[in-house]
Amino acid sequence: MLPDDSPEQLRAEHEALIQFLYLAPVGLVQADLDGEIAMINPISAQLLMPLSPDGCLTNLFTALESVAPDLRLQCSQFPRAQGMVFEGLHIHLRAAEHSKRAPQILSLTLLKLDQARIMAVIQDVTAEVRRERQLRQSDAWLNAILTRISDYALVSIDRAGRIVEWNESIARVTGFGEHVIGSAYSVFYPPGAMTPEHLLDRLREADRNGWSLDEGLRLRADGSQFWCSALIAPLPDREAFGLDDPQAPAYALILRDISDKRAASEKRRQAAFCDHLTGLANRRAFFEAAELELDRAVHTPRPLALILFDADLFKNVNDRYGHPAGDRVLCDLADALRDSFRIVDTVARLGGEEFAVLLPSTSEGEALASAERLRALVATRLVATDMGEIAYTVSAGVAVLEGDARETGGIDHLIKRADQALYLAKGRGRNRVATWTSHLPANEDTPKRSRDAG
């Protein structure tokens, strides 16, 4: 059968082709070597428009400038006449600003077609990366047990997380004697690293997933600390031990001293979850911690406090002393924050001079006291820089979520409230702490913008 080349047929084919490109689930862009866009499909616009600093899509490099500043350079320095400039480059976005569903990681592939044209493929790989990370974590655990079996402590715990039996391995790894029976397993955690709610959260996670794993500092009986990988697994056939007996063993807790591997695993974590300048948690780590905490609160409601800190009149510091000195101030604030809060709290830099501390199982009064302590501490500090000593102050906004966080709008809601409180603290003359109350005007957008003034 001969192909039908009638204009109607060609038009229909053209339309089908257009729609095919409209619906392709990856972003496709063709541009010249300076990034000027010649052709672009809708998914590209969906992914790039929220990033585009000028609200245009005339230039690919400009659209991505805020998250991948060196594309133009990489493209111009590509030595060959054609070929793959890079493939599957992961770009981390300053995400979650507007929506939890917004993409956080884009994958970008750049292909040089000839001396005049490049082709880019853009994809939202947030979910994929998250899945991979979970897999990697299970891999890491398997590696840890299979490759180098060193000493471990095996601890039986009951449904409430209390230690039921004592054995030699507990003494070998932790130094605790028989008197440890009856204590909650948080006895192995340094002060501030565990809350009563988290203790039970881990047991529930083990019920749900088959195991719960965490890594961190643990405590020996003599007060010394070691880097530990701790696995909690439900005991098989535990029903057979008697459902009625609350003291029957229900979980196995395995503690392994992995101090020698700490450097490697910390380095991996830091690359992904730390703010480069201050070493605090980055936005991604903050929002993941918040998500986890809210998930847990669905099962067992508990208060979750958030403090937003903002360095006062920070723009003046930068203008007057220069950015390197400004960075020193931010690092000093980061140090003060790190030293002031518990291990279980998440201390993060959300951007610029804005910092956040998430405090699990913390009441408004406690959060307010912590915020006030930090504010007072900062007011006494001087930061040594090449431009002389700099004094600075911070303002803080405190908000607390009670009850079912999902129903009250989750982390975005909490941030908004803390932000309103912070705005109030700024308005009252800075160097102070304010708490959110229902009397505060629910200004949707003002705080973020107006606070730029310092």
Partner: protein
């Protein structure tokens, strides 16, 4: 409805569009995409059809943000409609945007219209 055609920034436009026939929509000088609470496209006028290169039968009955205009499926556009629906509030925002009509970036103004009682939600498209 008055005899004069409403313009892109006429007030109360959603009600006028709801009351317009397909022929009347086709005489408008800006693009009209009307959709229901499930984002299914119910109305699509000639200007928009021509600019996008898609005939109405390829578009009507399809979910807007996934199958017709995925470029609008982000917090700048789709989420505004979702938020308005969640809060049961009125939406009437005009924003600068770039559409990828026939694979070329075209600067446009979008007017986003939704009201809790309205028959349709609208994305209106004005070339800049």
């Amino acid at each position: 409805m008055t005899t004069a055609n409403p313009s892109f920034d006429t007030r109360g436009l959603a009600d006028l569009l709801d009351a317009s026939s397909q022929e009347q929509l086709d005489t408008l000088e800006f693009g009209v995409i009307g959709f229901d609470a499930d984002t299914i496209v119910q109305r699509y006028n000639a200007v928009e059809s021509q600019a996008a290169g898609l005939s109405p039968q390829r578009v009507l009955g399809e979910p807007l943000f996934t199958n017709v205009a995925p470029c609008l499926n982000n917090f700048l556009v789709a989420q505004r409609f979702e938020d308005a629906a969640d809060e049961g509030s009125e939406l009437d925002d005009t924003i600068d945007y770039v559409l990828t009509l026939r694979m070329r970036p075209i600067k446009v103004k979008l007017r986003l219209l939704a009201s809790p009682g309205g028959a349709h939600r609208y994305v209106l498209v004005q070339r800049r």
